[in-house]
Symmetry: C2
Amino acid sequence: MISRIAILGTGLLGTSVGLALRAAGFKGSIVGWNRGPIGAHYALECGAIDGFTPDAITGVREADISVLAIPIFATLDLMEQLSEIGPEHLITDVGSTKVQITLAAKRLFNTLERAGFLPGHPMAGKERGGADHADATLFRGAVWLFTDDPDWKRSERTATLARDWREWVTKMGAKTLDLDAARHDELVAWVSHLPQFTATALSALLEEEVGDAPELKDVGGRALREMTRLGASPFSMWRDIAHTNTEAVERALLALEQRLAYLRENLRTPGLRDEFEQANKFRRE
Amino acid sequence: MISRIAILGTGLLGTSVGLALRAAGFKGSIVGWNRGPIGAHYALECGAIDGFTPDAITGVREADISVLAIPIFATLDLMEQLSEIGPEHLITDVGSTKVQITLAAKRLFNTLERAGFLPGHPMAGKERGGADHADATLFRGAVWLFTDDPDWKRSERTATLARDWREWVTKMGAKTLDLDAARHDELVAWVSHLPQFTATALSALLEEEVGDAPELKDVGGRALREMTRLGASPFSMWRDIAHTNTEAVERALLALEQRLAYLRENLRTPGLRDEFEQANKFRRE
Protein backbone atom coordinates (compact mmCIF):
# COMPACT_ATOMS: atom_id res chain seq x y z
CA MET A 1 0.00 0.00 0.00
CA ILE A 2 2.65 2.52 1.09
CA SER A 3 5.66 2.28 -1.18
CA ARG A 4 7.48 5.44 -0.18
CA ILE A 5 7.82 7.40 3.05
CA ALA A 6 9.65 10.73 3.32
CA ILE A 7 11.12 11.78 6.67
CA LEU A 8 11.62 15.52 6.71
CA GLY A 9 14.04 16.28 9.49
CA THR A 10 16.36 13.46 10.48
CA GLY A 11 17.06 14.48 14.06
CA LEU A 12 16.42 12.23 17.03
CA LEU A 13 12.72 11.64 16.30
CA GLY A 14 12.87 11.49 12.49
CA THR A 15 15.80 9.09 12.45
CA SER A 16 14.18 6.97 15.15
CA VAL A 17 11.00 6.77 13.05
CA GLY A 18 13.04 5.45 10.11
CA LEU A 19 14.81 2.87 12.27
CA ALA A 20 11.55 1.83 13.95
CA LEU A 21 9.76 1.46 10.60
CA ARG A 22 12.54 -0.82 9.35
CA ALA A 23 12.51 -2.80 12.59
CA ALA A 24 8.73 -3.18 12.24
CA GLY A 25 9.17 -4.63 8.77
CA PHE A 26 8.46 -1.71 6.45
CA LYS A 27 9.79 -2.77 3.01
CA GLY A 28 9.19 0.34 0.91
CA SER A 29 11.65 3.14 0.35
CA ILE A 30 12.35 5.75 3.03
CA VAL A 31 13.90 8.99 1.88
CA GLY A 32 15.14 11.72 4.14
CA TRP A 33 15.85 15.41 4.18
CA ASN A 34 17.55 17.45 6.86
CA ARG A 35 18.49 21.08 7.25
CA GLY A 36 22.01 20.14 8.31
CA PRO A 37 24.07 17.60 6.36
CA ILE A 38 25.48 15.77 9.39
CA GLY A 39 22.12 14.50 10.63
CA ALA A 40 21.14 13.48 7.10
CA HIS A 41 24.29 11.45 6.54
CA TYR A 42 24.07 9.86 9.95
CA ALA A 43 20.48 8.79 9.19
CA LEU A 44 21.64 7.21 5.93
CA GLU A 45 24.58 5.46 7.55
CA CYS A 46 22.51 3.88 10.30
CA GLY A 47 19.89 2.69 7.82
CA ALA A 48 17.03 4.94 8.97
CA ILE A 49 16.69 6.24 5.39
CA ASP A 50 17.90 4.78 2.13
CA GLY A 51 18.26 7.97 0.15
CA PHE A 52 17.92 11.72 0.17
CA THR A 53 15.32 13.99 -1.30
CA PRO A 54 16.69 17.35 -2.48
CA ASP A 55 14.16 19.44 -0.60
CA ALA A 56 11.14 18.98 1.62
CA ILE A 57 8.52 19.82 -1.01
CA THR A 58 9.93 17.36 -3.55
CA GLY A 59 10.10 14.81 -0.78
CA VAL A 60 6.39 15.17 -0.04
CA ARG A 61 5.42 15.17 -3.74
CA GLU A 62 7.17 11.86 -4.35
CA ALA A 63 6.07 10.08 -1.18
CA ASP A 64 2.85 8.42 -0.09
CA ILE A 65 3.35 9.52 3.51
CA SER A 66 5.59 12.31 4.73
CA VAL A 67 6.61 12.70 8.34
CA LEU A 68 7.50 16.23 9.43
CA ALA A 69 10.01 15.82 12.25
CA ILE A 70 11.23 19.40 12.63
CA PRO A 71 10.58 22.06 15.28
CA ILE A 72 7.05 23.43 15.64
CA PHE A 73 7.52 26.80 13.91
CA ALA A 74 9.43 25.12 11.08
CA THR A 75 6.51 22.67 10.77
CA LEU A 76 4.02 25.55 10.56
CA ASP A 77 6.16 27.27 7.87
CA LEU A 78 6.51 24.10 5.84
CA MET A 79 2.77 23.41 6.06
CA GLU A 80 2.14 26.73 4.30
CA GLN A 81 4.52 25.73 1.53
CA LEU A 82 2.89 22.31 1.16
CA SER A 83 -0.68 23.50 0.84
CA GLU A 84 -0.77 22.88 -2.94
CA ILE A 85 0.07 19.18 -2.57
CA GLY A 86 -2.70 17.00 -3.98
CA PRO A 87 -5.00 14.43 -2.36
CA GLU A 88 -2.79 11.42 -3.12
CA HIS A 89 -0.55 12.31 -0.20
CA LEU A 90 -0.72 12.10 3.56
CA ILE A 91 1.42 14.33 5.73
CA THR A 92 1.84 13.75 9.44
CA ASP A 93 4.03 15.35 12.07
CA VAL A 94 5.55 14.77 15.50
CA GLY A 95 5.27 18.27 17.02
CA SER A 96 4.98 18.63 20.79
CA THR A 97 2.12 21.13 20.80
CA LYS A 98 -0.92 20.61 18.64
CA VAL A 99 -3.37 23.52 18.70
CA GLN A 100 -1.60 25.66 16.09
CA ILE A 101 -0.61 22.71 13.90
CA THR A 102 -4.14 21.29 14.01
CA LEU A 103 -5.62 24.68 13.09
CA ALA A 104 -3.23 24.87 10.14
CA ALA A 105 -4.11 21.29 9.18
CA LYS A 106 -7.76 22.30 9.02
CA ARG A 107 -7.08 25.49 7.10
CA LEU A 108 -4.58 24.10 4.56
CA PHE A 109 -5.34 20.38 4.17
CA ASN A 110 -7.93 17.68 4.73
CA THR A 111 -10.42 18.44 1.98
CA LEU A 112 -11.27 16.12 -0.92
CA GLU A 113 -8.95 18.11 -3.22
CA ARG A 114 -6.01 18.47 -0.90
CA ALA A 115 -3.47 16.34 0.88
CA GLY A 116 -4.41 14.80 4.18
CA PHE A 117 -2.68 16.04 7.30
CA LEU A 118 -2.76 13.87 10.41
CA PRO A 119 -1.42 15.79 13.44
CA GLY A 120 0.60 13.45 15.63
CA HIS A 121 2.79 13.56 18.71
CA PRO A 122 4.79 10.58 19.97
CA MET A 123 5.42 10.94 23.71
CA ALA A 124 9.00 9.81 23.39
CA GLY A 125 12.28 11.61 23.34
CA LYS A 126 15.60 11.94 25.00
CA GLU A 127 17.28 14.78 26.82
CA ARG A 128 19.79 14.95 23.98
CA GLY A 129 18.69 15.37 20.38
CA GLY A 130 20.33 14.47 17.11
CA ALA A 131 20.37 11.50 14.73
CA ASP A 132 23.26 9.94 16.64
CA HIS A 133 20.96 9.35 19.62
CA ALA A 134 18.25 7.75 17.47
CA ASP A 135 16.89 4.40 18.56
CA ALA A 136 14.65 1.85 16.80
CA THR A 137 12.96 1.11 20.14
CA LEU A 138 12.29 4.73 21.12
CA PHE A 139 8.51 4.40 20.65
CA ARG A 140 8.08 1.02 22.29
CA GLY A 141 5.51 1.33 25.06
CA ALA A 142 5.14 5.06 24.43
CA VAL A 143 1.82 6.77 23.76
CA TRP A 144 1.50 8.32 20.27
CA LEU A 145 -1.11 11.03 20.43
CA PHE A 146 -3.22 12.16 17.47
CA THR A 147 -5.38 15.28 17.33
CA ASP A 148 -7.27 14.26 14.24
CA ASP A 149 -10.64 15.86 13.64
CA PRO A 150 -13.49 13.46 12.76
CA ASP A 151 -15.22 16.21 10.77
CA TRP A 152 -12.44 16.53 8.22
CA LYS A 153 -13.50 15.28 4.76
CA ARG A 154 -10.49 13.47 3.40
CA SER A 155 -10.16 11.78 0.02
CA GLU A 156 -10.55 8.02 0.18
CA ARG A 157 -6.84 7.67 -0.55
CA THR A 158 -5.64 9.98 2.23
CA ALA A 159 -8.13 8.45 4.67
CA THR A 160 -6.65 5.03 3.88
CA LEU A 161 -3.11 6.36 4.25
CA ALA A 162 -4.03 7.84 7.64
CA ARG A 163 -5.29 4.42 8.78
CA ASP A 164 -2.12 2.83 7.42
CA TRP A 165 0.07 5.28 9.33
CA ARG A 166 -1.76 4.52 12.57
CA GLU A 167 -1.07 0.86 11.93
CA TRP A 168 2.64 1.51 11.44
CA VAL A 169 2.68 3.54 14.65
CA THR A 170 1.26 0.53 16.45
CA LYS A 171 3.78 -1.75 14.76
CA MET A 172 6.56 0.56 15.97
CA GLY A 173 5.41 -0.40 19.46
CA ALA A 174 3.44 2.72 20.44
CA LYS A 175 -0.09 2.95 21.76
CA THR A 176 -2.24 5.47 19.88
CA LEU A 177 -4.57 7.82 21.72
CA ASP A 178 -6.86 10.44 20.15
CA LEU A 179 -7.39 13.76 21.85
CA ASP A 180 -8.91 17.08 20.98
CA ALA A 181 -6.05 19.50 20.18
CA ALA A 182 -6.88 21.94 22.99
CA ARG A 183 -7.14 19.09 25.48
CA HIS A 184 -3.83 17.74 24.15
CA ASP A 185 -1.97 20.97 24.80
CA GLU A 186 -3.50 21.34 28.25
CA LEU A 187 -2.62 17.75 29.14
CA VAL A 188 0.99 17.85 27.93
CA ALA A 189 1.49 21.12 29.82
CA TRP A 190 0.97 19.04 32.97
CA VAL A 191 2.56 15.70 32.18
CA SER A 192 5.40 16.78 29.89
CA HIS A 193 6.12 20.51 29.85
CA LEU A 194 5.82 21.06 33.61
CA PRO A 195 8.25 18.22 34.42
CA GLN A 196 10.71 19.62 31.84
CA PHE A 197 10.58 23.21 33.06
CA THR A 198 10.79 22.00 36.66
CA ALA A 199 13.96 20.05 35.87
CA THR A 200 15.35 23.08 34.05
CA ALA A 201 14.65 25.42 36.98
CA LEU A 202 16.01 22.92 39.52
CA SER A 203 19.17 22.29 37.47
CA ALA A 204 19.78 25.98 36.86
CA LEU A 205 19.34 26.72 40.58
CA LEU A 206 21.67 23.91 41.63
CA GLU A 207 24.28 25.01 39.11
CA GLU A 208 24.27 28.34 40.91
CA GLU A 209 24.42 26.77 44.38
CA VAL A 210 26.85 23.87 43.97
CA GLY A 211 28.03 24.07 40.35
CA ASP A 212 31.50 25.25 41.33
CA ALA A 213 32.09 22.13 43.43
CA PRO A 214 31.72 19.06 41.19
CA GLU A 215 32.31 16.66 44.09
CA LEU A 216 29.15 17.99 45.72
CA LYS A 217 27.02 17.05 42.70
CA ASP A 218 28.01 13.43 43.34
CA VAL A 219 26.65 13.66 46.86
CA GLY A 220 23.09 13.80 45.55
CA GLY A 221 23.32 10.37 44.00
CA ARG A 222 20.68 8.72 41.86
CA ALA A 223 17.77 10.86 43.08
CA LEU A 224 19.49 14.09 42.08
CA ARG A 225 20.64 12.68 38.75
CA GLU A 226 17.09 11.64 37.90
CA MET A 227 15.51 14.91 38.97
CA THR A 228 17.96 16.92 36.84
CA ARG A 229 18.46 14.62 33.82
CA LEU A 230 16.04 16.70 31.76
CA GLY A 231 18.15 19.74 32.64
CA ALA A 232 20.31 18.68 29.68
CA SER A 233 17.42 19.27 27.24
CA PRO A 234 18.28 21.80 24.55
CA PHE A 235 16.63 25.21 24.48
CA SER A 236 16.27 24.91 20.69
CA MET A 237 13.60 22.28 21.14
CA TRP A 238 11.75 23.85 24.05
CA ARG A 239 11.59 27.41 22.74
CA ASP A 240 8.83 26.56 20.28
CA ILE A 241 6.91 24.68 22.96
CA ALA A 242 7.13 27.65 25.33
CA HIS A 243 5.90 29.93 22.54
CA THR A 244 2.99 27.78 21.36
CA ASN A 245 1.66 26.57 24.70
CA THR A 246 2.45 29.60 26.86
CA GLU A 247 -0.81 29.99 28.78
CA ALA A 248 -1.15 26.33 29.74
CA VAL A 249 2.50 26.15 30.82
CA GLU A 250 2.11 29.36 32.85
CA ARG A 251 -0.88 27.88 34.67
CA ALA A 252 0.99 24.66 35.43
CA LEU A 253 4.12 26.49 36.65
CA LEU A 254 2.09 28.82 38.87
CA ALA A 255 0.26 25.83 40.36
CA LEU A 256 3.59 24.17 41.18
CA GLU A 257 4.97 27.36 42.73
CA GLN A 258 1.91 27.51 44.98
CA ARG A 259 2.23 23.85 45.87
CA LEU A 260 5.90 24.30 46.81
CA ALA A 261 5.04 27.35 48.90
CA TYR A 262 2.34 25.37 50.71
CA LEU A 263 4.81 22.59 51.41
CA ARG A 264 7.42 25.12 52.60
CA GLU A 265 4.93 26.67 55.00
CA ASN A 266 3.93 23.26 56.33
CA LEU A 267 7.27 21.52 56.92
CA ARG A 268 6.35 21.16 60.59
CA THR A 269 2.58 20.72 60.34
CA PRO A 270 0.31 17.77 59.46
CA GLY A 271 -0.07 19.43 56.04
CA LEU A 272 3.24 17.81 55.07
CA ARG A 273 1.83 14.35 55.72
CA ASP A 274 -1.15 15.12 53.47
CA GLU A 275 1.15 16.22 50.65
CA PHE A 276 3.22 13.04 50.92
CA GLU A 277 0.06 10.93 50.94
CA GLN A 278 -1.33 12.72 47.89
CA ALA A 279 2.03 12.23 46.12
CA ASN A 280 2.12 8.56 47.12
CA LYS A 281 -1.30 8.12 45.47
CA PHE A 282 0.04 9.38 42.15
CA ARG A 283 2.73 6.70 42.22
CA ARG A 284 0.43 3.87 43.31
CA GLU A 285 0.15 1.23 40.59
CA MET B 1 39.77 -6.30 65.02
CA ILE B 2 35.98 -5.98 64.87
CA SER B 3 34.38 -9.21 65.95
CA ARG B 4 30.82 -8.05 66.44
CA ILE B 5 28.63 -5.43 64.79
CA ALA B 6 25.12 -4.56 65.94
CA ILE B 7 22.64 -3.10 63.47
CA LEU B 8 19.91 -1.29 65.32
CA GLY B 9 17.02 -0.88 62.94
CA THR B 10 16.83 -3.41 60.11
CA GLY B 11 14.92 -1.36 57.60
CA LEU B 12 16.17 -0.63 54.09
CA LEU B 13 19.46 0.96 55.17
CA GLY B 14 20.27 -1.24 58.17
CA THR B 15 19.58 -4.46 56.28
CA SER B 16 21.55 -3.19 53.26
CA VAL B 17 24.50 -2.43 55.57
CA GLY B 18 24.43 -6.03 56.83
CA LEU B 19 24.27 -7.44 53.30
CA ALA B 20 27.00 -5.09 52.06
CA LEU B 21 29.29 -5.98 54.99
CA ARG B 22 28.92 -9.68 54.22
CA ALA B 23 29.48 -9.04 50.49
CA ALA B 24 32.61 -7.06 51.38
CA GLY B 25 33.96 -10.02 53.35
CA PHE B 26 33.15 -9.17 56.98
CA LYS B 27 33.55 -12.44 58.91
CA GLY B 28 32.51 -11.41 62.43
CA SER B 29 29.03 -11.68 63.87
CA ILE B 30 26.29 -9.23 62.93
CA VAL B 31 23.35 -8.99 65.27
CA GLY B 32 20.23 -6.99 64.63
CA TRP B 33 17.37 -5.37 66.42
CA ASN B 34 14.24 -3.84 64.95
CA ARG B 35 11.17 -2.19 66.39
CA GLY B 36 8.88 -4.37 64.27
CA PRO B 37 9.38 -8.16 64.07
CA ILE B 38 8.82 -8.44 60.29
CA GLY B 39 11.85 -6.37 59.31
CA ALA B 40 14.01 -8.21 61.86
CA HIS B 41 13.03 -11.63 60.55
CA TYR B 42 13.46 -10.59 56.95
CA ALA B 43 16.99 -9.32 57.75
CA LEU B 44 17.80 -12.68 59.34
CA GLU B 45 16.36 -14.67 56.44
CA CYS B 46 18.31 -12.78 53.80
CA GLY B 47 21.55 -13.12 55.75
CA ALA B 48 22.04 -9.46 56.65
CA ILE B 49 22.22 -10.42 60.35
CA ASP B 50 22.94 -13.75 61.96
CA GLY B 51 21.10 -13.24 65.20
CA PHE B 52 18.99 -10.90 67.28
CA THR B 53 19.82 -8.77 70.24
CA PRO B 54 16.96 -8.38 72.75
CA ASP B 55 17.14 -4.59 72.83
CA ALA B 56 19.21 -1.76 71.42
CA ILE B 57 21.20 -1.06 74.60
CA THR B 58 22.23 -4.69 75.05
CA GLY B 59 23.12 -4.74 71.36
CA VAL B 60 25.53 -1.81 71.76
CA ARG B 61 27.02 -3.18 74.99
CA GLU B 62 27.90 -6.48 73.35
CA ALA B 63 29.19 -5.09 70.02
CA ASP B 64 32.40 -3.41 68.94
CA ILE B 65 30.55 -1.19 66.51
CA SER B 66 26.86 -0.37 66.51
CA VAL B 67 25.08 1.14 63.56
CA LEU B 68 21.96 3.16 64.39
CA ALA B 69 19.74 2.88 61.32
CA ILE B 70 16.51 4.31 62.65
CA PRO B 71 14.75 7.64 62.07
CA ILE B 72 16.45 10.82 63.27
CA PHE B 73 14.35 11.49 66.37
CA ALA B 74 14.58 7.84 67.37
CA THR B 75 18.36 8.13 66.93
CA LEU B 76 18.47 11.20 69.20
CA ASP B 77 16.37 9.39 71.84
CA LEU B 78 18.54 6.29 71.73
CA MET B 79 21.72 8.38 71.98
CA GLU B 80 20.49 9.70 75.34
CA GLN B 81 19.92 6.14 76.54
CA LEU B 82 23.37 5.04 75.37
CA SER B 83 25.37 7.80 77.04
CA GLU B 84 26.62 5.47 79.82
CA ILE B 85 28.24 3.07 77.36
CA GLY B 86 31.97 2.82 77.92
CA PRO B 87 34.98 3.70 75.72
CA GLU B 88 35.37 0.19 74.28
CA HIS B 89 32.51 0.85 71.87
CA LEU B 90 31.96 2.84 68.72
CA ILE B 91 28.49 3.92 67.68
CA THR B 92 27.75 5.32 64.24
CA ASP B 93 24.53 6.26 62.50
CA VAL B 94 23.02 6.81 59.04
CA GLY B 95 20.71 9.76 59.75
CA SER B 96 19.90 12.19 56.92
CA THR B 97 20.47 15.40 58.88
CA LYS B 98 23.52 15.85 61.02
CA VAL B 99 23.52 19.06 63.05
CA GLN B 100 21.39 17.75 65.93
CA ILE B 101 22.98 14.31 65.93
CA THR B 102 26.50 15.78 65.84
CA LEU B 103 25.67 18.12 68.75
CA ALA B 104 24.39 15.13 70.73
CA ALA B 105 27.51 13.16 69.77
CA LYS B 106 29.63 15.96 71.24
CA ARG B 107 27.52 16.29 74.37
CA LEU B 108 27.09 12.58 75.16
CA PHE B 109 30.08 10.76 73.65
CA ASN B 110 33.59 11.16 72.31
CA THR B 111 35.55 11.67 75.50
CA LEU B 112 38.26 9.35 76.82
CA GLU B 113 35.78 7.81 79.27
CA ARG B 114 32.87 7.40 76.92
CA ALA B 115 31.92 5.54 73.77
CA GLY B 116 32.89 7.03 70.45
CA PHE B 117 30.13 8.30 68.18
CA LEU B 118 30.90 8.79 64.51
CA PRO B 119 28.04 10.66 62.78
CA GLY B 120 27.53 9.25 59.28
CA HIS B 121 25.17 9.59 56.35
CA PRO B 122 25.26 7.32 53.31
CA MET B 123 23.76 9.13 50.29
CA ALA B 124 21.86 6.08 49.19
CA GLY B 125 18.29 5.03 49.49
CA LYS B 126 15.24 3.99 47.62
CA GLU B 127 11.82 5.50 47.30
CA ARG B 128 10.42 2.49 49.16
CA GLY B 129 11.77 1.51 52.55
CA GLY B 130 11.82 -1.79 54.39
CA ALA B 131 14.16 -4.76 54.75
CA ASP B 132 12.57 -6.44 51.73
CA HIS B 133 14.01 -3.73 49.46
CA ALA B 134 17.51 -4.08 50.93
CA ASP B 135 20.40 -4.52 48.55
CA ALA B 136 24.04 -5.49 49.08
CA THR B 137 25.05 -3.07 46.31
CA LEU B 138 23.07 -0.08 47.61
CA PHE B 139 26.20 1.85 48.61
CA ARG B 140 28.30 1.12 45.55
CA GLY B 141 29.44 4.38 44.01
CA ALA B 142 27.51 6.38 46.62
CA VAL B 143 29.06 9.08 48.80
CA TRP B 144 29.08 8.27 52.54
CA LEU B 145 29.30 11.54 54.46
CA PHE B 146 30.80 11.90 57.92
CA THR B 147 30.49 14.94 60.17
CA ASP B 148 33.20 13.88 62.55
CA ASP B 149 34.85 16.60 64.63
CA PRO B 150 38.68 16.56 64.67
CA ASP B 151 38.64 18.14 68.15
CA TRP B 152 36.94 15.21 69.79
CA LYS B 153 39.22 13.32 72.16
CA ARG B 154 38.42 9.68 71.67
CA SER B 155 39.98 6.73 73.47
CA GLU B 156 42.58 4.93 71.39
CA ARG B 157 40.19 2.00 71.03
CA THR B 158 37.25 4.03 69.72
CA ALA B 159 39.54 6.04 67.43
CA THR B 160 40.75 2.77 65.93
CA LEU B 161 37.21 1.49 65.58
CA ALA B 162 36.23 4.71 63.78
CA ARG B 163 39.06 4.19 61.29
CA ASP B 164 37.98 0.57 60.88
CA TRP B 165 34.40 1.60 60.17
CA ARG B 166 35.54 4.06 57.51
CA GLU B 167 37.46 1.22 55.90
CA TRP B 168 34.40 -1.01 55.86
CA VAL B 169 32.39 1.82 54.33
CA THR B 170 34.97 1.97 51.54
CA LYS B 171 34.88 -1.80 51.16
CA MET B 172 31.08 -1.60 50.80
CA GLY B 173 31.79 0.47 47.68
CA ALA B 174 31.09 3.99 48.99
CA LYS B 175 33.33 7.06 48.80
CA THR B 176 33.75 8.82 52.14
CA LEU B 177 33.62 12.58 52.43
CA ASP B 178 34.03 14.65 55.60
CA LEU B 179 31.99 17.78 56.13
CA ASP B 180 31.21 20.14 58.94
CA ALA B 181 27.73 19.27 60.27
CA ALA B 182 26.21 22.69 59.46
CA ARG B 183 27.64 22.58 55.96
CA HIS B 184 26.30 19.03 55.59
CA ASP B 185 22.76 20.03 56.42
CA GLU B 186 22.93 23.05 54.11
CA LEU B 187 24.33 20.95 51.27
CA VAL B 188 21.83 18.10 51.53
CA ALA B 189 19.00 20.65 51.65
CA TRP B 190 20.01 21.49 48.06
CA VAL B 191 21.08 18.18 46.58
CA SER B 192 18.78 15.78 48.41
CA HIS B 193 15.92 17.41 50.30
CA LEU B 194 14.98 19.93 47.60
CA PRO B 195 14.77 17.24 44.88
CA GLN B 196 12.60 15.10 47.19
CA PHE B 197 10.18 17.87 48.17
CA THR B 198 10.00 18.97 44.53
CA ALA B 199 9.04 15.46 43.45
CA THR B 200 6.48 15.33 46.26
CA ALA B 201 4.90 18.65 45.29
CA LEU B 202 4.90 17.76 41.58
CA SER B 203 3.37 14.33 42.22
CA ALA B 204 0.73 15.70 44.58
CA LEU B 205 -0.19 18.38 42.04
CA LEU B 206 -0.40 15.91 39.17
CA GLU B 207 -2.51 13.54 41.25
CA GLU B 208 -4.99 16.38 41.58
CA GLU B 209 -4.87 17.28 37.88
CA VAL B 210 -4.78 13.90 36.13
CA GLY B 211 -5.00 11.34 38.95
CA ASP B 212 -8.55 10.36 38.03
CA ALA B 213 -7.50 9.34 34.50
CA PRO B 214 -4.81 6.65 34.77
CA GLU B 215 -4.39 6.49 30.97
CA LEU B 216 -3.18 10.09 31.05
CA LYS B 217 -0.35 9.26 33.47
CA ASP B 218 1.03 6.93 30.78
CA VAL B 219 1.16 9.82 28.33
CA GLY B 220 4.02 11.42 30.23
CA GLY B 221 6.33 8.50 29.60
CA ARG B 222 9.81 8.09 31.04
CA ALA B 223 10.38 11.77 31.81
CA LEU B 224 7.27 11.98 33.98
CA ARG B 225 8.01 8.67 35.70
CA GLU B 226 11.50 9.86 36.61
CA MET B 227 10.42 13.27 37.83
CA THR B 228 7.77 11.71 40.12
CA ARG B 229 9.47 8.48 41.22
CA LEU B 230 10.45 10.05 44.55
CA GLY B 231 6.77 10.93 45.01
CA ALA B 232 6.47 7.40 46.39
CA SER B 233 8.78 8.22 49.31
CA PRO B 234 7.15 7.66 52.69
CA PHE B 235 6.26 10.58 54.94
CA SER B 236 7.53 8.58 57.93
CA MET B 237 11.09 9.00 56.72
CA TRP B 238 10.86 12.63 55.62
CA ARG B 239 9.03 14.02 58.61
CA ASP B 240 12.16 13.95 60.78
CA ILE B 241 14.21 15.55 58.00
CA ALA B 242 11.67 18.36 57.61
CA HIS B 243 11.75 18.92 61.38
CA THR B 244 15.52 18.89 61.81
CA ASN B 245 16.55 20.85 58.71
CA THR B 246 13.61 23.21 58.41
CA GLU B 247 15.38 26.52 57.77
CA ALA B 248 17.72 25.19 55.08
CA VAL B 249 14.88 23.38 53.30
CA GLU B 250 12.71 26.52 53.49
CA ARG B 251 15.47 28.54 51.84
CA ALA B 252 15.94 25.96 49.09
CA LEU B 253 12.19 25.70 48.40
CA LEU B 254 11.77 29.46 48.29
CA ALA B 255 14.68 29.74 45.85
CA LEU B 256 13.07 27.15 43.57
CA GLU B 257 9.69 28.91 43.74
CA GLN B 258 11.41 32.12 42.64
CA ARG B 259 13.27 30.33 39.86
CA LEU B 260 10.04 28.79 38.56
CA ALA B 261 8.33 32.18 38.69
CA TYR B 262 11.18 33.74 36.72
CA LEU B 263 10.94 30.99 34.13
CA ARG B 264 7.14 31.41 33.96
CA GLU B 265 7.51 35.15 33.36
CA ASN B 266 10.12 34.56 30.67
CA LEU B 267 8.58 31.81 28.54
CA ARG B 268 8.70 34.15 25.53
CA THR B 269 11.86 36.13 26.32
CA PRO B 270 15.61 35.43 25.96
CA GLY B 271 15.59 34.77 29.70
CA LEU B 272 14.33 31.27 28.90
CA ARG B 273 17.41 30.56 26.83
CA ASP B 274 19.64 31.63 29.72
CA GLU B 275 17.84 29.31 32.10
CA PHE B 276 18.23 26.36 29.73
CA GLU B 277 21.92 27.15 29.25
CA GLN B 278 22.47 27.38 33.00
CA ALA B 279 20.65 24.05 33.46
CA ASN B 280 22.67 22.46 30.64
CA LYS B 281 25.84 23.46 32.51
CA PHE B 282 24.76 21.55 35.59
CA ARG B 283 24.42 18.40 33.53
CA ARG B 284 27.65 18.81 31.60
CA GLU B 285 30.15 16.07 32.46
